[in-house]
Subunit: 97 residues, 2 copies
DNA sequence: TGTCAATATTGATGTATGTCGATATCTGCC
DNA sequence: GGCAGATATCGACATACATCAATATTGACA
C-alpha cells in the first residue's frame, strides 16, 4: 500500500477508531434502511448532545454517513460503499496478493 | 454492537488509523510468511528509527503483529486472526444481520 | 573485554482530540 | 411574530499522540 493509498483510507479508520463513533455507526447500520434519526441515537449514550453531534459530524466528514434533514430532525444514513471499501481493505488491499 | 464489543475492537482500529502504521502493516503482510525485519521497514519511511520502533510497538500491543527477536534483528509477523477479526467486523458485526 | 550495529526507552514538545457548558441556528406550531 | 424543541457551533480544557534527539540495551564478533 502506497502512502497515498494509506492517506485515503486512514480518515475512515480514524473516524471508526473511537468507541462512541463505532457504536453510532453500528446503530445506524442496524436500522432498516441503515438510517437513524439523531434523536434516537442520543439517548443511547451517557454523553451530552453537542458531543454526539460532534461525533456524527466526524463520521459524516469521513464519508461514512450521509446527512438528511427532514424538518426538525436529522437522519443519518450509512454509506455502503464506504463500508465495503473498508471490508475489502482487510480482504484484499492489506492482505497479500 | 455493545459498548464492550466496541472497546475490544477499537484498539485495533486505533492502531491502524495512522498512515505510517497502516503502511507498516501492509508491508509486513506483503512479505512471504507475513513477516518482515524491522531493518527492512525503517528505510521505507522518512522518519527516525525511534519513531518506527514506537509504531511497531503500538501494532504489537494491539495484537496485530507478533515480535520475534533473532540475534540482533527483530522480525515482526502479522497475526492473521486479528486481520480476520477486522474483516468480519465490516462484513458481519457492523453490517446489519 | 571492547567495539559496533540494531533496536528500544526516555524525556520533551507541538499538535490533535474528546468532552462539556453556553449559545446559535433552524423548524414547526400557536 | 414568538415560543419550544432539535441540532449545530463556539470556546475552553484536559488528555492523548506523533515525533524527535539523546541515551540505554542487546547481541555478535574480534
Amino acid at each position: 500500500m502506497s502512502a497515498e493509498g494509506a492517506d485515503q483510507v486512514v480518515p475512515m479508520l480514524k473516524a471508526l477508531a473511537d468507541p462512541v463513533r463505532l457504536r453510532l455507526m453500528s446503530m445506524v447500520l442496524s436500522r432498516v434502511g441503515a438510517e437513524a434519526c439523531a434523536c434516537e441515537l442520543l439517548p443511547a449514550f451517557d454523553l451530552s448532545q453537542p458531543t454526539i453531534s460532534h461525533h456524527l459530524k466526524v463520521l459524516h466528514a469521513a464519508g461514512l454517513l450521509d446527512r438528511d434533514k427532514r424538518g426538525v430532525w436529522v437522519y443519518y444514513r450509512a454509506r455502503p460503499e464506504a463500508i465495503a471499501a473498508l471490508g475489502t481493505l482487510f480482504d484484499a488491499s492489506l492482505a497479500p496478493a
